[in-house]
Symmetry: C2
């Protein structure tokens, strides 16, 4: 059996062919470049067409296709809302893709759903039925697996934990992206660092000669590695927010595993013991002792592996219903 997994991101498209046990047979990656709107859809379709033809010639025909999208897939319409791809407000990806896929089943899901599915198939959540992928990159989202199934909610937007309320009272600055994301996403870390630098006029540390407006989360982590006091203060606060959020996930969902991923984990991986210590204070005491924390086992490939597993599960489901 051959499975085609497709991970459409905000800046690149990755495609991979897998065997049914999650072994990678082929992988390609194409930058989106300046493509917007239907040009992105055309790129996806072109690559699918080429891979289907090649596979057919090689005698390894694709049996099922899964697609991860950087946003929300409306399961009832197959249309996509992807804020980082211009013109993808309600984009008919499923209908378009089906023009080239013929009888091969196609299924689409959000990137956060695919991240946890990828980890379950081939990463650090293998064997788990109740697990959460906490993706902390530019923004924050969670892929949630409950009893072996993706938790999607009544309108496919479950896992929007960047909006988690953790710091009362409400401030207007939370309106655009949510409280948790404001304080502890990659973009949030940069924003908070800028706020701290503007307030600390007598600061003369690692970041003092930098252009404040262009500070990035990576600069903050570099300063933290250098023992910079302001960076330590910002990171300590992030650890508090991450710990509280993880505690809330544990108390509400009682998962067996939480995977930390996204661009920030990465450099924040070494903070996981401190995050656990913070979460231990807040969370339901039995649940927090039972849950395991881990980093992503697939790094940047969780999405494409997840899309492959999505394809596999979709095939299994249609086989079972026959």
């Amino acid at each position: 059996m051959s499975l085609l997994g497709i991970d459409l991101g905000g800046s690149k498209l990755a495609l991979a062919i897998f065997t049914e046990d999650g072994s990678l047979l082929l992988r390609e990656s194409i930058p989106l470049g300046k493509r917007i709107g239907s040009e992105v859809g055309k790129l996806v379709n072109d690559r699918i067409r080429i891979l289907l033809e090649t596979s057919k010639r090689n005698g390894t025909e694709i049996d099922s296709i899964g697609i991860s999208v950087p946003g929300i897939n409306n399961t009832s319409t197959g249309k996509i809302w992807a804020p980082n791809i211009q013109g993808w407000n309600n984009y008919p990806l499923l209908a378009e893709v089906m023009e080239v896929t013929g009888n091969i089943p196609v299924i689409i899901d959000s990137d956060r759903a695919c991240y946890i599915l990828g980890e379950v198939w081939s990463g650090n959540a293998r064997g788990c039925k109740d697990a959460v992928f906490l993706a902390v990159g530019t923004g924050i989202g969670a892929g949630i697996l409950v009893n072996g199934e993706i938790l999607r909610g009544s309108n496919d937007i479950a896992g929007a934990i960047g909006w988690m309320a953790l710091n009362r009272p409400f401030e207007d600055k939370y309106t655009e992206c949510g409280c948790f994301e404001y304080h502890a996403s990659g973009e949030g870390i940069a924003k908070v660092t800028r706020e701290y630098l503007k307030k600390s006029r007598d600061y003369s540390g690692y970041l003092s000669d930098r252009d404040i407006e262009n500070i990035k989360a990576s600069d903050l982590f570099a300063a933290y590695e250098n023992g910079d006091s302001l960076a330590t203060e910002v990171i300590d606060q992030c650890v508090e927010f991450w710990g509280m959020a993880v505690a809330n996930i544990v108390s509400l969902l009682n998962p067996e595993k939480i995977i930390f991923g996204g661009g920030v984990f990465g450099p924040a991986n070494k903070l996981i013991p401190a995050i656990r210590k913070e979460a231990l204070k807040w969370a339901q005491p039995i649940g927090i002792k039972q849950v395991t924390f881990d980093v992503s086992g697939l790094a940047g490939d969780a999405g494409v592996f997840g899309a492959g597993y999505l394809a596999f599960r979709n095939l299994q489901k249609s086989d079972n219903s026959k």
Copy 2:
């Protein structure tokens, strides 16, 4: 078809017989009195035996039994942890009950799971597949329905939202019951009121002639109805916590409906519009606009209805697997 629903609470036992469409045929309620440990188990078994015999004589034999327990049911062992029943640390309820039930299927679940099941069957969540029952009584817990199934987590303790982290930094007083429960449960409201009264030495309002140590949530609500300023302050803070917690449920789970129940809703029902207003500030903006808030349609009977529905669903499942 006749279904026996049993709601074992911390202070009373309720039993009811239902038809398969959720109509109530008979209902009885017995105070636990001073019973502890196996005396409670014996009471449950005695009542089951009597109801089974009566039903048999009436020609309406019981087809299935569901039991709601005030704590955690370990689904793999059938043993119960119920902190409000002395001696029920790991109580073998399922094994005991099966001594009198013969071939009739028996299933046990937590009270919070039964609350939302009851509302789905016969209350204000009818037709819902993704809904949450927020139970605010002495403590706080949530019954969570995801895609028509109870979310129980890896060890049956999902929904422990009394532990939700909402107010940083952590304070030692949260250790025993969790931050959200400390501030906004029935017991929490009384505790916070006592704290406020002790701090406000020049207070001379509705509660000033009361014995501070015996203040209850109901006293606070009475004072609030009277426009008391201290009570208004406490309630406003509760609304903030309830709003934040509801926002987090919405952002994480994307439910179509949240039902407010337990002893506090009740008197706090009229605060639901204010809670919605607070939640609107914090939550994922699409999800919070889509979700409906409602009060319990079954009040104190949500548990026994839920146990009845549990019995019905269990029968359906075993029929389907044949």
